[in-house]
């Protein structure tokens, strides 16, 4: 069984004014000029390089780090690379108020942990880059800097099953597909 409780350093994706970004689209995450890339290990270096103020993210991020964003993270295209680039960097979870529908599927199918925190944008100023965040995928409980507790949505059953299996293909094989 994979660990369902993780802890790591947080990157709060804020704009130049310090406001948490909403509607970060897949071109900002993984620009279409790199779409020909098939090898996951080559994807990490381009993560977020078209998001204003975050061009250097790939150089700074460390395995185990978490990302925080506002509403509709991963809007736009169906490109799997927008998920896989974070897997390549070893990002352990993306916490957002909400995620784009296709993005959500892609992340779940890849076994990248995504967690939805309703009401996040209204209390975004409680989070900052460098904070320590604990996430319990089973209960949805978040603990910020060892003190503050917040309630996010727990993983759905299919999300947990795929996460535990590793990815959609491994999960499919457990079902005999």
């Amino acid at each position: 069984m994979k660990e369902t409780r993780i802890e790591g350093r947080l990157w709060a994706l804020t704009d130049p004014d310090g406001t948490l970004y909403d509607d970060i689209d897949t071109d900002m995450i993984f620009h279409n000029r790199y779409l020909h890339i098939v090898d996951v290990t080559q994807m990490g270096q381009y993560a977020l390089d078209n998001l204003k103020g975050w061009e250097e993210f790939a150089q700074k991020a460390q395995p185990g780090d978490l990302i925080l964003a506002g509403k509709n993270f991963g809007a736009g295209s169906s490109r799997q690379q927008a998920v896989d680039c974070f897997r390549a960097l070893g990002i352990s979870a993306i916490v957002a108020e909400s995620h784009g529908a296709i993005y959500k599927r892609n992340a779940i199918n890849s076994g990248l942990a995504i967690v939805s925190l309703p009401g996040l944008t209204e209390r975004a100023d409680e989070f900052k880059t460098g904070d320590q965040l604990k996430v319990d995928f089973e209960t949805g409980e978040l603990v910020l800097n060892g003190e503050k507790t917040l309630q996010a949505r727990p993983f759905s059953q299919v999300q947990m099953d795929i996460y535990q299996a590793g990815n959609l293909f491994a999960y499919g094989k457990t079902l005999g597909e």
């Binding site: 736009g76 909400s98 529908a101 296709i102 199918n109 597909e177």
Partner: protein
């Protein structure tokens, strides 16, 4: 059983399991067609080979490639990726709609691969455009699609459905694109997040297929799963003819189906609209952006690349010429559209007016082979997205083909005349 919305009915008919088809439940969904584009196609093949070796696909007659993004390829990586798909498709006995065919989602409707009530997935995030003919279409990532190639099904969370009631009628010079922009203005970039949408109202019922395509193509920009436009008799006749099946029937919601929200959009006093950079939902009256000098105009994409869109443009520009210094380009959605333009004289009218005319595909919208913008360049586009960097380094304004045509003639953003 609770009364059902359109998506619930389509899912019910495609769900072999016992799980009730109600919002929030995750069901297994049978897929009538699974497809991949040149975009992500090679990734699908890579995933398939990695996980299933050379096992045959579940059903070769329900599996397709549609090349439309970089067609013909203008760079070696895309050429390589297309060739990877072709070779694998040959081995598997799977059909490829190759670089000549045009935009896959449009080919799907023209060829009758998608029809009312059917289910269709692929690697195009605008595949939900198939809601235009009352089909369930969904863009997915390359792992998802590789899985569907092998199994013919996928897991799906049944989304709640919202209803959008459009009041009033579309009056020239407004078009279905302006109606679409009005809905985007009302719902914003995440107003339909995670939901299916059903449209109703007399202006919706009156939409022809191209108008339905335009509206359905923008649900992704509202965050929605899909937007259904209940098929009219005209759409049913088209779908039956193209699918070669008399038994195609429209799927309609039960009168007392449950909607999570009902939103009214009043277009009675609508004027021509424009989505300003950097978001498709940043909608204003064209009047407020008027006078902005422009450098280029692009007409096409899955949103407004139909023959009727270009007829409307030809009506505006015939006998006139694009303003000096403005690069104006046209990319038909499909080879069939190109043929209609060629044989009807529309192509000649656009050529004479100074337009560059390209082969069919997604060029001009994504970073295909035509029409990237440079730093500081201002572009009017009929495509579906104006996100920063989507079409290049410039600034993109999204309008109807009619407004775009007037802008091309004037060399600045201008309100079209009726």
């Amino acid at each position: 059983m609770a009364r059902q919305t359109i998506i619930e009915k389509i899912f019910q008919a495609h769900s072999p399991g016992d799980t009730p088809v109600t919002p929030g439940n995750i069901i297994w969904l049978d897929l009538d067609v699974r497809s991949a584009r040149d975009f992500a196609g090679a990734n699908v093949v890579h995933n398939y080979r990695t996980h299933y070796d050379d096992a045959p696909v579940a059903d070769r007659d329900k599996t397709f490639f549609t090349f439309d993004l970089v067609v013909p390829p203008n760079n070696i990586p895309y050429a390589n990726n297309q060739q990877i798909c072709r070779i694998w498709a040959r081995e598997q006995g799977v059909r490829v709609y190759d670089v000549d065919a045009g935009i896959g989602s449009h080919v799907a409707m023209e060829e009758g691969l998608a029809y009312p009530g059917s289910t269709f997935v692929g690697t195009d995030s605008h595949l939900n455009i198939l809601g235009a003919v009352g089909a369930f279409g969904q863009g997915m990532g390359d792992q998802d699609i590789a899985f569907t190639f092998k199994t013919g099904k996928t897991w799906f969370e049944v989304p709640p459905t919202m209803k959008v009631v459009v009041k009033g009628e579309i009056k020239p010079p407004c078009t279905a694109r302006d109606l679409t922009l009005a809905v985007l203005q009302r719902l914003g970039s995440n107003g339909a997040l995670g939901r299916a949408v059903e449209f109703c109202g007399s202006a919706i019922e009156a939409l022809d297929l191209p108008g339905r395509i335009t509206l359905a193509s923008q649900i992704t920009e509202m965050g929605g799963i899909i937007g259904f436009i209940p098929p009219s008799e005209e759409i049913l006749a088209f779908a039956r003819e193209r699918a070669g099946r008399d038994d195609v029937e429209g799927v309609y919601a039960d009168p007392d189906a449950t909607y999570v929200e009902t939103v009214e959009v009043d277009i009675t006093d609508m004027e021509p609209l424009v989505a300003c950079p950097p978001s498709p939902a940043n909608v204003k009256p064209v009047r407020e952006a008027a006078g902005q000098r422009i450098d280029s105009v692009f007409l096409g994409s899955c949103t407004n690349g139909r023959f009727e869109d270009f007829v409307a443009v030809a009506d505006v520009v015939k006998g006139k010429h694009v303003a000096p210094g403005v690069m104006a380009s046209v990319v038909p959605a499909t080879r069939r559209v190109f043929e209609q333009m060629l044989r009807s004289g529309v192509l000649e009218a656009l050529f004479d007016a100074g337009f560059i005319i390209s082969n069919p595909g997604c060029g001009g919208c994504a970073s295909g082979h035509i029409g990237m913008t440079g730093q500081g360049q201002v572009q009017i586009s009929t495509s579906n997205r104006n996100f920063r960097g989507k079409q290049g380094a410039g600034e993109t304004y999204l309008t109807s083909p009619v407004t775009a045509a007037w802008c091309a003639l004037k060399g600045e953003i201008t309100v079209p005349e009726a």
